[in-house]
Symmetry: D2
Subunit: 478 residues, 4 copies
């Protein structure tokens, strides 16, 4: 036990036997499927960096729960320092993998549970917190990766869970047994679910009386019987499968829909069951942490995109063009804005009843509002700087074609001192950074819809204080 190496992590995933489908076919080995493997490698980077001299201090700390060194991706924050480390790790990893590393969502669930289970117990006399801590010990001791099963498929958005024509559109209990419960439903956009040892389920929205069977939180292994992972399509998905024109030669991302087809959850793994009034808190905590995480990893991704843009300028002979430098500045500014908001949200965090530290929600949501708009803008700027070949670069297979390969290479040459192969590789990376749907669309919808972030900052801000200030200056008596 203890910290896993990258190899141990991959082997541990290899030991699991999840039920998974992609393009209508059953997946026999996650580890050997090139597309899933590229996603797995991104998560594996969180293990790899924890072993690297340069990053170990950032990534590893001692857990007060098990009194052993743990990867911070298993650690609910117990201090401001812990909160800040989350953002810095994510920025480092975003730049390192150039995509989503897919290990933050599970941690964000752990963080949320470490606060809310305590509060439920306080009110209801339940023992969720103790059960959760046992689970957390297991996660920490085995350096596990968890997945966040939050987003239900939702059916008709205008209807509440129990008003849906099909009651399964939100995950719910279909059978209460002595030893546990049986649940049914589906969770969408399950980033890295097959790279995760455990699936942690939380409610996706506030719930009301009548929704008791939907008020659910629990954790189960990703290969629990009845769990079915459907790996959907993303825009560049056949590239890894074909082993050609991959772009990011190391990492990628995938986000299955996970169907819970009457899955048994043992009692000791249930962390919320029926206490509807805590559903909102659960989802608010999770999504606030998750928005904080994004401020780190997405600024890191912009760093990487900025590097790509700058390198392309070096390769194409445009490195002195003033208007391109302005665009690079615009990219940097966006990265720093996301980062600053998440960082400030962390430094301004506060201790909750359970001892876990929670971030400032207004600042965390301020970061996500920027992400929802500005990642698209940063991407556009990168494409603007890099040029039109992001759209239609010939394939590596063209370059090796005996009849035309030499011609294609001849004409893709940029600056004379730069090998054409490097310029080609860089274009391919830019394409991946810009056009990978699984990654780019999470900029918009990851961590809840853009509107949710906006509503949150209105709700969480002290509006009366602002009104009082205005009235005082206007000379209006209260």
């Amino acid at each position: 036990m203890g910290l896993k190496t990258k190899a141990e992590y991959i082997e541990s995933i290899n030991q699991m036997k999840p039920t998974a489908y992609m393009f209508g076919e059953k997946i026999n080995s996650v580890v050997d499927n090139p597309r899933l493997r590229a996603g797995l490698e991104a998560t594996a980077a969180t293990y790899e960096l924890a072993q690297m001299e340069e990053y170990r201090d950032l990534m590893v700390t001692e857990s007060p729960l098990i009194n052993e060194p743990v990867n911070r991706f298993t650690l609910p924050p117990g201090s401001i320092e812990d909160l800040v480390a989350r953002v810095k790790i994510n920025r480092t990893l975003g730049n390192w993998v150039g995509t989503c590393h897919q290990r933050c969502t599970g941690l964000d669930c752990l963080c949320a549970l470490s606060i809310v289970t305590f509060d439920i117990d306080q009110k209801h006399g339940t023992n969720y917190f103790e059960k959760f801590r046992e689970f957390l010990k297991y996660v920490q001791k085995n350096d596990l990766t968890c997945n966040a099963g939050v987003t239900d498929v939702k059916g008709d958005r205008s209807l509440n869970p129990h008003d849906q024509a099909d009651p399964d559109m939100y995950l719910h209990v279909v059978e209460h047994r002595d030893d546990g419960i049986v649940v049914r439903g589906a969770k969408a956009h399950q980033t890295g679910s097959l790279s995760s040892h455990e699936i942690i389920v939380l409610p996706t929205r506030a719930l009301k009386k009548g929704d008791e069977d939907y008020a659910l939180a629990f954790a189960i292994p990703n290969d629990t019987p009845g769990l079915i992972h459907i790996v959907g399509r993303s825009s560049l998905d056949t590239r890894e499968l074909d082993g050609c024109d991959i772009g990011n030669i190391r990492y990628s991302k995938y986000c299955p829909t996970v169907i819970f087809n009457d899955v048994f959850v043992p009692r000791e793994r249930i962390f919320l069951c029926g206490e509807v009034e805590f559903a909102a808190d659960m989802v608010v905590r999770f999504s606030s942490y998750h928005r904080q995480s994004h401020g780190g990893c997405k600024s890191g991704k912009i760093d990487c995109m900025t590097g790509a843009a700058l390198t392309m300028m070096d390769y194409s002979g445009t490195e002195r063009a003033g208007h391109l430098k302005q665009k690079v500045i615009d990219m940097i500014h966006r990265a720093e804005t996301l980062y600053a908001c998440s960082l400030a949200a962390s430094y301004e965090g506060k201790k909750e009843n359970s001892g876990t530290y929670f971030i400032d929600t207004v600042l965390a949501n301020a970061s996500k509002i920027h992400e929802g708009r500005e990642m698209a803008e940063a991407t556009r700027l990168m494409v603007d700087v890099c040029g039109g070949y992001v759209a239609d670069l010939p394939s590596d297979k063209d370059f090796t074609n005996p009849e035309v390969g030499h011609l294609v290479k001849k004409y893709l040459k940029g600056k004379d001192t730069i090998p054409v192969e490097d310029r080609i590789k860089l274009f391919r990376l830019v394409e991946k950074l810009a056009m990978e749907s699984a990654d780019t669309i999470s900029d918009i919808h990851g961590g809840g819809s853009p509107e949710a972030h906006r509503v949150t900052i209105l709700r969480e801000s002290d509006l009366d204080k602002r009104k009082r200030a205005a009235k005082r200056l206007a000379g209006i008596d209260e």
Copy 2:
């Protein structure tokens, strides 16, 4: 001869024998290759609509050159009405095909040539205009599609054409013969080159003394010996090839790199050769017309994206959400802005020496500056409205899988009254609209780089008039 039906057009393309490669393999039949065919179908729509009752009046007019009805895509504008029709046709087609129809670039070359060849002859006593008119008659009588060979691959961007380490980085004459010239080089981003009968080449930039061999304009069939079309990769390129998860079930886009590997151009098809001082005018005319075209087709594409967003709201039960309506308004506003600028550029056009009408360049470039930013924003808004399944929707192959197909469909259901298949199809279309690189990146780089559009409006605006107004109001004597 005369107007071609859609079938005749496709058959005429089928008769051509271009040298083409895709993914390192030679393409034997353009018409039978599903990916190229989807592009071809988009161009075919320009023939189809010309035959449809509803659109004929918009699409077809009589050419004063041949005194026969012609498709407007072969007609340099001879009036303000002609200029305006260009924009309206493009908007209609953009909405109709939901992507680029790929026939405007060739027309924009014809328009540019119809002005500049006349002016060269006036100065140099050459006979380019007459040769061009003969070519134009041929195009009109046969209702041909032309391609714009404008964008050279450019090598080191900081160097002039004749200063490049490899002189072939800009297309140039390598041999002058009595009956014509032999040219070498390559043109990038040749939208629909294999759907075009003719490739029209123009210079890509202003040229100076010393660049004479680069000052070139001509037209040749797409299967001229030595021409090699390399069909590059775009983000969703394997979808059509696999015949699955296509999204836009009718149309797509592709943009080869076309290599001119010592290609002979007969004398009667040469429209500029050595008159360097006209290169700038040629490219400015072409790109101004092309920016005008974009204002039409891209607003039409936003129309289609708006329709997709509104339909998704109907399907998911979010049609009454105020914040989504605001986003739809933002989409409409962007479409109307592109359209208005192009339309105004057209109405404010002026007659040139040759009799062709040219648009107002400031207004045309104003449209393109908006496009360069706002198409990305419109796309982001569509994705925001439609939700996260744009990123990772299960494949059609999953839906037909006997073990899990019914479950996948069950959980992708939106509003109860809407067949799940329709919602799935719509998500797939949205993915195509948002994530097709060949299409979306032309929003940024089509018609020249964003900086080119900006520089143009500064250069073409009357700055002194503005200064005089300010000085008069400030009370400053001139």
Copy 3:
């Protein structure tokens, strides 16, 4: 009769005896009050240009109603050319006066009335159209300026007119008499009411059954008994009064609140009275025309601001700074966008039942949406380019102070070749362009609130057509 010279216009205003207050004191002479005079001069420019060789053709045309040359500011458009002329005149004037010329609102009322009175008569058999035409003849023959009494003060915005605690918060009939009506209420933001011969009143919003007494349109002289003009404060209002540090040495703007304190309106001047269902049409027509007008005058104002920015660059030695040129481009782009949308709205206009031409409302509102955001941005850019002295430039009185005047001038010197006085005047103009509230706030609220423009483009767009296009491409049967 016939076209008035500038001097005749001013004298005609001088003949009127309106009841007016400013800063709590009664105004005895509009013409002699320096602040009102500066506004009057702006309107006078519409007379002056009509007499100038350079602009006469643009400003003057023959009215088919009176078969005499008229100033276009008295002419409801009878053709596309007339619609387009409106925009071009406004752009010319915006650049010429560097502020609002204050004569468009009345014309926009005339335009609206020339359509709606006809339609009311068609339905109700009334004779509003004839009465309106008589009034219009009078306006044209005497080259009068009219003011638009549209914006009611509105009281509690959440309540309908007849639900207000005080029934006078929307202008309404308090007495019906044989020879006319007596009205009570107040209209806010009455741009140039004291520079206008006539006040034209329209409803400010859609009305319903029960609001009959609020459904009102009429015209009365600005000095009708009971009319009280309260000239409110604007940010730089004491500058003209003090005759110092004026900035724009020629023109300014003012916008009284006009109180209708039981004002009698003779029957022949009533153009709507009780037909509630036409109130909405009246206001939509007026505000659409007015939004079109703004696209002209505000782009003209940006022209003038651009000229000020460029001149300041010349004066301060920054004329070669690349980043400042980029900002100038951003300013030009905004001007062209407003202009293009208004121009396109005009060219795409259509003939109404009465013979008047109406603009395309979607495009006109697209222009105003840009104005609401982009005028503030253009202003910010101008200030950015010009520098901090816009905020705190010493007074002209400091420059003439014998002890310190020479020192202040010494230190305000920019480029050695430019007289310091000119640089000082230019800073003062920039301050006026940027900080005059009466002018800048109409960018946001003129022609209805920003939200009104947005709602309009949603309502007026063909959403079903867009949906059909998306469904067809997705392969969804209707």
Copy 4:
């Protein structure tokens, strides 16, 4: 000695005898001039809050230099906590005064000097640091306010200081004496110079060999002979002077140009003299601190503007309008963004050689880039929410006019339950918040030009790290 009360502060300013002019006339008493007094009151708020129970802990701390409690506005930061306190105090004050409190610039000079004087001494063996510490003790013991004399008037911007036609366009030494130096020049935009006890001068730009006489830093009392304060005009400047329609009834801002007309500076007050290579560091340190300060005070001002907007919604009956809530969210988001960037810049600060803590410059500049754009946008949003009366509200003098006062009040009534006087006061405050040039233009130009902030984040970012990340992912060997 020790902390001054507000009254003591005002009296201490009253004791000074500066030479000051406004509108061409000599100012005899700063304290009794209503316009200057309103600025003085804003600075006085920094003293007042330090005495208030609620804010004392935030505002007051013990200085390790004098081992006494000091107002934080005299304390160069000696810890991360000190850096963070700067931002929080500024946000609190921005909300409290609704404008600029004018005491941060002097502190930012003290901060810069506390770092750079130490470094100069290290290199040159000078004793600037000791002299500076003596000055700082004096400031702390007497709780003084200092002013930042940084921005030279600059003359021709394309020329270096010593290349100007008039060598005085940048402040410089004109005489070296045994006991000190005599300096000549002028500093523009000297926010609150007459509310400050001391004027601290720093260079305004990087300097080179040949500029030795321009490399200057020192501190002198604001009434030193030869110092002339010219209080320039700002947009609402006559309101306080007239005592009517003031808007913010408590506070305002003014920014003189300060002329150094051969001013003697004693040797012990000189902190830089001729060491040209430190000029850049001096200005970078100062402006970075100042940009950090702005992130606090300007977010506080947005808080106050948000309060005004929300209160206006309450008063006008629009508090439930969804689109207005969206605008309020946009305002809050901007405030939080400025705040987050400044806060993050503080938490990520580092200790310098002298022991002073310096902020992260990239994050501080990221804040200022937002400010330069977003304050204008926040202001526009406030005006949009509040309505058109921001432009042209009748004067208080109209309300008290016996003939029309009751009518004006009648028609300005909003919701029935709200006294009309309160709504009027609120409109007036909004006008002040939106249209006060001295305050709003510092959003753009305060702390250096917008371009300076952009160049800084490019220069200070680790671009190579970003490039390396991109190359690694693209598979490019370095």
